[in-house]
Subunit: 215 residues, 2 copies
């Protein structure tokens, strides 16, 4: 199956215009067929030894979202205290989640015992199952962007809060909580770049050839 130059350009356009979205969500509902296409793309991610260790919990209940939001508020207050001076002031002004506004939340998990106990390709590097789940998340992110849907990964929530709110068994690991929805606009730059939190580094500064370059 050949990918044409036009199709290639569409993939790059999607990759370069993907954003981590925390604001600008609208309340426009996501059609079921769109959500199904996105989750099918997730399920077609690569996985170590083809173990497909992921599960996706689609969250639409406002009551459950509120429990998750409360967990964020607590964790975010603790997190703010870890920054000093001006950085803490700047941190407190950032909007870091869209849990209640996004029409859909998706909790993504990893079942380390699936298709095991010995998993091809995980024998030497045990973390590979988690990495497979993250590949599925990046598929979700790009599929969502291709549907003109915004997505934000909210990592400032204790796993225990998500497990309790969503009734997730003890032996299942939380990888991500994602907020998904249509947006009023996508910003041209990542928000943290736009607001001066950090700059994008030059590609050349992270490239090496055959050996690690010593600066």
């Amino acid at each position: 199956m050949i990918i044409t130059a036009e199709e290639r350009d569409a993939v790059y356009k999607t990759i370069f215009n993907r954003r981590d979205v925390r604001s600008n969500f609208t309340d426009q509902a996501i059609p079921d067929e769109v959500l199904t296409r996105i989750l099918t793309a997730a399920h077609h991610a690569p996985s170590v030894g083809f173990m497909q260790p992921w599960d996706f919990i689609v969250v639409r209940s406002q009551q459950i979202k509120q429990k998750i939001k409360n967990g964020f508020e607590l964790a975010n207050k603790q997190s703010a205290e870890m920054f000093n001076g001006d950085k803490q002031l700047q941190y407190k002004k950032l909007k870091l989640e869209g849990i209640l506004e996004a029409p859909v939340g998706i909790c993504v998990t990893c079942d380390r015992s699936r298709n095991g106990p010995v998993v091809l390709g995980r024998t030497i590097k045990p973390e590979m199952d988690f990495y497979s789940v993250v590949c599925a998340i990046q598929n979700i992110w790009l599929a969502a962007r291709s549907e003109n849907l915004g997505l934000g990964w909210v990592s400032i929530i204790e796993d225990s809060v998500l497990k309790q709110a969503l009734d997730i068994p003890d032996d299942i690991h939380i990888v991500a909580y994602l907020c998904l929805g249509y947006v009023s606009n996508f910003s041209a730059q990542p928000e943290l770049e736009q607001k001066g939190w950090l700059k994008r580094s030059e590609l050349s500064s992270v490239l090496h050839f055959d050996k690690w370059r010593k600066d």
Copy 2:
């Protein structure tokens, strides 16, 4: 920036036709501008707190590839012993890497101290920096597929082998070793599915709504 329906379909086509490639590499050289486009796509992955913790070591030296291949052989022998009976026989027949045949290897690493020590979004979930690097790897995978290049993630190598072969500092963590090159063909299905190692599960079996479904 709107993504059109045609562009969306191109993204899905790329996602569904991406394969974890271990054979069929040809020796056709990868033009520099193609490799640069792919690595630029990697550098535009999402990263926690915009920390951009990744580095990419492009491996073209046949001598260095041989060191890595030797590391694979050792780790693969140990790994085969972990499977029993028929599964071990089946495992030993699989070709699990294309280290020497692929014209380019890419080692992808994580610098946990970059733009730190406190990283926005990593305060509660310390593994987020590794997950950012994996998002960059999935961007590489899809960008490569959109360029009609095959890519395989070889996880059956000890980190210490890659560190030694590529002169990587102690405080830098190995996430992946990737084999990249043009291929004679992409198979219609994942190889492990095709060869009967495991089946693809139904999407419905990994989907839950609002609460974890108890089967």
